[in-house]
Amino acid sequence: MSSSRLESFLARIYVDVAAREKFLADPRGEATRAGLAAHEIDDLANIDRDGLEMFAHSLEHKKAKHGNPKNQHS
């Protein structure tokens, strides 16, 4: 199912700096290579880059502070 593939793709670009940089350098190409659906590729090509970076940095900050994801509440 494409949506589970998209979730996997998002998880990787959220937490993996190298994967995120590669994606931001060529969003459409990386999304296509991941086998995502056409509408998902279009969405990712127009991704909110600032939002993505802010979310990724907030994750890095939490991991640096707490280490264990279990200690991050919401």
Binding site: S2, L10, E40, M54, K70, H73, S74
Partner: protein, 285 residues
Amino acid sequence: MNADRFGIGWRPRLAAGILSNLERLDIVEVIADDYFRADRQQRRALRTLAAQTRVTLHGVSLGMASAVPVETRRLDDMARLCDEVRPAFWSEHLAFVRGGGVEIGHLAAPPRCEATIGGALANLARAKQIVGIAPQVENVATLIDPPGSDRDEAAWISAIVRNSDSSLLLDLHNLHANALNFGFNASEFLTRIPTEKVATIHLAGGKWIGRNGAQRLLDDHLHDVPDPVYELLAEVAARAPQPLTVILERDGNFPSIEALLVQLDRAREAVARGRAHLIMNEIAA
């Protein structure tokens, strides 16, 4: 008479303050995941707390809103803890937290589409089957509008809550943050969701962060509840006549317990204001 309840999230740093003020709290929310691998002493402490006051268990790592099924072993963990603690209810987030073997380490908003609605409904049905009680489900804050979405948050949440046995745990700071971050009206959001299924409210605070001139409100649980969130609470109380449980969440930068209890008092006032509005409307009708 309405049986609204007001409580606070259990954190080790707040333990002494909570235990010495149980008469001012109707309920205490405990992070379930902190106890899945706890030793016997910690589990006993939790049972002791549950014997002293009403407790609810709040999960953070099941990843209910996903096209991928939640692993049975994770639901078994929750089932065992619920059997042991007998909480008033349990809850989880409408989020995905892992994908393709990668742990995100926090709650991520999934693509808002048919696949994640179907996945969430299947996960919630399995959770009810395994745990024995359907979880309440919570809306999450997000810094990024999830790619792959074909509908907005109100439509997506409504589809899940209307078609499941789960009640809604409405986090009003998450709603406030998403509304500011993505330019929608939080009050209008409340008119579009099934408020008759709201059972619990979360209150928290956050801070503004920025990048390249763009600003986002981060729901960090490290700051006091802002005024607009109390206004939203009054609006919910005016729309939802059923009993509400209101929980204040604070994860760090802890003020005194008294300062937190003052925020709970403000929540009580906001609910009372909303209830008064509800009664006036009923009289007028």
